[in-house]
């Protein structure tokens, strides 16, 4: 079964969630108008109170305790509505912050549990190849010299076919198939940057500067980083999709609401 594209739009989800919430409230008889003076405490409401109590106290409430909780709930509801009538919600930082948090939570909650389809992840992978591409890998030889002049002299000897050991330092003379980050960790970013500017198989080049000194380098291989198939990196892709979808829904939901406002800021 394929759903039309619009059903995948987060904005639609958000509106649908809002509509559902409204429907629930309407069905529960919750007054859309806080000015109403009717309070219905449904069985579901009481179940929620009981469950909250149980989560805190590690046992269900007795009937008497539940009645007390219900009474407290009613009391708070009455005072809450009266407070709304008096407009007390408008200048309370705590209330404002808390309600804003709830709106954010509403927008992102759906993305936290939903299982993305393979198609969605394949598309995600195709849209963001740079995040999932394997690293570039290098194979090279290098000789180290503290001074540039010594490195230049050695370069000449190496090009003429001579053997040069270089000066002692605890770095490998030869590297096979090292990822970019590994090479950078050992030789530093400047050195690896220089490798990117070389053509593999063109013999000894340099000298190349690093945090240690100077190197003459023979780049043998450079393998471009390819994007692996989804099956191999599904977890990574799903992590990325989920984290970003949550953030995006929250931002889009806000943008949608924000669009309906005209905001004037005095400077």
């Amino acid at each position: 079964m394929t759903l039309p594209r619009w059903t995948r739009e987060p904005m639609v989800h958000f509106l649908a969630a809002g509509a559902a919430l409204f429907a629930v409230f309407a069905w529960q008889g919750e007054p859309a108008d806080p000015a109403s003076r009717t309070i219905d405490v449904s069985l579901e409401d009481r179940a929620r109170l009981a469950l909250q109590y149980e989560r805190t106290m590690k046992r269900p409430p007795t009937d008497a305790e539940l009645d007390t909780l219900t009474e407290q709930y009613v009391r708070e509801e009455v005072l809450y509505r009266e407070a709304l009538r008096l407009g007390l919600d408008r200048d309370d930082a705590v209330v404002r912050k808390r309600m804003a948090n709830k709106m954010d939570f509403l927008a992102q909650s759906m993305a936290e549990t939903v299982e993305p389809s393979d198609e969605a992840l394949v598309k995600w992978l195709a849209d963001h190849p740079e995040r999932f591409a394997r690293e570039v890998r290098y194979g090279f030889d290098q000789r180290f010299f503290a001074d540039r002049a010594a490195a230049e002299a050695a370069l000449g000897r190496l090009r003429a076919g001579g053997a040069v050991e270089g000066e002692p330092i605890s770095l490998p003379l030869s590297i096979e198939d090292a990822s970019r980050s590994r090479a950078a960790e050992q030789f530093g970013e400047a050195f690896v940057g220089a490798l990117d500017g070389m053509k593999p198989g063109t013999g000894w080049l340099g000298p190349v500067a690093s945090g240690f000194g100077w190197h003459v380098v023979r780049l043998r291989t450079r393998e471009a980083g390819e994007v692996p198939p989804l099956a191999e990196i599904r977890e990574r892709v799903e992590n990325d999709w989920r984290a970003e979808t949550i953030a995006r829904r929250r931002d889009e939901a806000y943008a949608l609401l924000r669009g309906a406002y005209r905001v004037a800021i005095a400077r």
């Binding site: 009981a50 469950l51 805190t56 590690k58 539940l66 549990t113 770095l171 530093g188 050195f191 945090g211």
Partner: protein, 654 residues
């Protein structure tokens, strides 16, 4: 009637909450196991792995209260090299990714602050908790005040009952722990990036810091069978019991890493057991087995050495200022007699002393660095310091000058914070098992941030010629690496030491061997040997000391040049003072040339003037400490590879 219907509705609601993805964890475990099996294990460690074993996220009660709103997922992404946005909106990224990360949120009140924050106000009965709830929602300043109150309450054992109630705690913890374990399994990429499970056990009797980070070797299938162990009052033996029980029940493995010994007011490395009685061989063995590694350096100071204990060591005072005033919340001032139980070099010496008496060394530990950052951001670099907590992240201009909430009146200031360090691990592959096992064999070292590569091998026949060939292989085949033990055979030990600078960082000033030993009459000694340094020809030793390397730091621009120092220093060194029968330890300290501390970078960035005392401390020599190599008699009973439940069985037998 109504009651039973409500009960049924409750059940349905609870069931729907619990349903979410039990099969997910199994699938995840299988994926991780497959990926682990595909990682090649080297014959011996080839490449040092960098990580942080001590990072807090918004699940930590204090971190959340201090304003951190980044969770474990952002922490993992940041550590593996992604860019994230800090809690105050600053873009943050590591210059180089880390190889592993242990998120060590406080087990006490795990997630409690977030829960308190999210809780319906109606259900918060406790007036203190209700006040904290309101403060957290009101403003960042009020939120920080709430946490300061909370830490004080914890230190003085006066937390509200609701925070201490073990049953209520358990459910909160179960939910957060479970979600956390699933998350880190999802981010585990064997061979590339390894999140380890663990937590911080915040033992703090009377405000004296006896904190430990607990690390697990295992994935969800095992770690989800337990909850993080909590309790502020101890004794520490209870934690070890918990660790024994975990290993017995699950077949998994766990270790504990003490930290901030410098804030323990002498209690971290006592000569007695935790009850004040004489230390027995069993107790000593148990401590050494459970706590093979200690955090030597982190944001809240450096615990390697102190000038009072090491008056002949001109580099001993690094990272001591401010922290040496007293315990963690400064409820008790420190006296000089307490220092010996706090600093690691002295503890290593005490270990020899206890070993002479009991036959077992309780303090045969290795050393690592970590951050203890409470921002979800594992930043150990001076030029990228995101603060101890969100209340002093880099968006805050005068964070270097601000008095710290804990103990404001007696003089700990922002500039006393260090930028934090990293743990360097010589593992054979980047997997949980290999990293854990390297910690157990103490093949690890600490740095204060720079990623220097340091090798140390001890043996009896190393020579300068070994550098010509494959000296690493020679080190492993003819000696022991850092963390190992040499058996005294009547010959002076020789050490092969190599220190390579961080390719992106400062040159090196010198390499030292710190030796501690005990003579037959039970007297402890220490000596710091400069074994190799830069420009040895122009910088000859004078009266037993190598002259200072110089200082290229421009205070106006917070820059330095690598015109002094050396990119690599290495030496083969034989102990000139060796005497047969004297037990000893040898560890390496590497000093870089002077570089700006985070305070100087801040001062330049914001154009603020540091007070004289802070300015004098704004340039420092970053450093590395290796785990020691010990020299002594053969262990009477060699340590079994697996000792799960050893102590419990031993105790029941005896």
């Amino acid at each position: 009637m109504a009651g039973s219907r409500i009960g049924a509705a409750c059940l349905a609601l609870a069931a729907s909450l619990a349903l979410a993805g039990c099969d997910g964890a199994e699938r995840e475990a299988q994926r991780a196991a497959d990926a682990e099996a595909a990682v090649a294990i080297a014959e011996f460690p080839q490449q040092v792995l960098w990580g942080d074993t001590h990072l807090h996220t918004d699940n930590s009660i204090d971190a959340f209260g201090f304003g951190t709103r980044l969770g474990p997922e952002e922490a993992l992404k940041f550590a593996r090299g992604d860019e994230v946005t800090s809690s105050t909106g600053t873009r943050a990224r590591l210059s180089r990714p880390l190889d592993f990360l242990l998120i060590a949120d406080h087990s006490d009140g795990l997630g409690a602050m977030r829960r308190l924050y999210d809780a319906p106000r109606l259900l918060i009965r406790d007036p203190t908790l209700r006040r904290w709830h309101d403060m957290m929602h009101e403003s960042p300043e009020q939120s920080q005040r709430a946490v300061a109150e909370l830490i004080d309450a914890a230190a003085t054992d006066s937390l509200p009952e609701a925070f201490r109630d073990p049953e209520g705690r358990e459910e909160n913890m179960r939910e957060i722990w479970d979600a956390h374990l699933r998350l880190i399994d999802r981010y585990y990429e064997p061979g590339e990036f390894t999140p380890l499970a663990g937590f911080e056990y915040t033992l703090m009797p009377g405000g004296n810091n006896l904190h430990r980070v607990v690390m697990f070797r295992d994935g969800y299938a095992r770690t989800s069978q337990v909850l993080p162990y909590s309790g502020l009052q101890g004794p520490i033996d209870d934690l070890w019991d918990y660790m024994d029980a975990y290993e017995e029940a699950t077949g998994g493995r766990t270790l504990a890493i003490p930290h901030n010994a410098n804030l323990s007011n002498g209690l971290m490395f006592e000569l007695t057991d935790s009850q004040g009685g004489p230390m027995s061989a069993d107790y000593a063995r148990r401590r050494a087995m459970r706590e093979p590694v200690v955090e030597a350096t982190q944001i809240k100071g450096d615990s390697e050495s102190h000038p009072f204990l090491s008056p002949n060591d001109e580099f001993a005072a690094f990272g001591d200022a401010g922290w040496e005033l007293g315990n963690l919340p400064l409820t008790e001032r420190k006296t000089d007699t307490m220092l010996a139980g706090e600093y690691l070099r002295e503890a290593l010496k005490r270990g020899l002393s206890i070993e002479q008496r009991t036959g077992v060394n309780p303090y045969a530990f290795g050393m690592i660095g970590s951050t203890d950052s409470h921002t979800s951001l594992a930043t150990g670099d001076e030029d990228n310091f995101f603060g101890k907590h969100t209340g002093n992240d880099p968006a805050i201009e005068d964070r270097a000058l601000e008095p710290q909430d804990l103990g404001t009146e007696v003089g700990r200031f922002g500039w006393h914070y260090m930028a934090g360090g990293y743990a360097a691990v010589w593992a054979k592959a980047n997997t949980r098992a290999e990293i854990f096992d390297a910690m157990m064999r103490r093949e690890v070292y600490a740095t204060t941030g720079p990623r220097m590569t340091v090798r140390l091998f001890g043996g009896f026949d190393f020579t300068e010629e070994d550098w010509e060939g494959d000296w690493v292989r020679a080190g492993y085949s003819r000696g022991v690496p850092m963390g190992g033990k040499l058996v005294d055979e009547g010959k002076a030990p020789t050490f092969m030491v190599s220190a390579l600078k961080d390719p992106e960082g400062a040159h090196l000033d010198r390499v030292q061997v710190v030796k501690g030993w005990i003579t037959a009459d039970g007297v402890l000694h220490e000596k710091v040997h400069d074994i190799v340094w830069s420009d040895m020809g122009e910088r000859p030793m004078a009266r037993g000391k190598v002259p200072a390397v110089g200082d290229t730091v421009d205070r106006e621009t917070a820059t330095y040049t690598n015109t002094i120092g050396a990119p690599e220093l290495r030496a083969v060194w034989t102990d000139p003072d060796y005497r047969e029968g004297e037990s000893a330890f040898y560890y390496v300290r590497v000093l870089a040339i002077p570089t700006p501390r985070w305070t100087l970078y801040d001062a330049v960035r914001f154009g603020i003037e540091l007070p004289a005392e802070a300015m004098a401390d704004a340039v420092a020599q970053e450093r590395a400490y290796t785990s020691p190599i010990w020299l002594g008699r053969a262990d009477p009973a060699p340590r079994a590879e697996r000792q799960a439940g050893w102590f419990a069985r031993e105790r029941f037998r005896g």
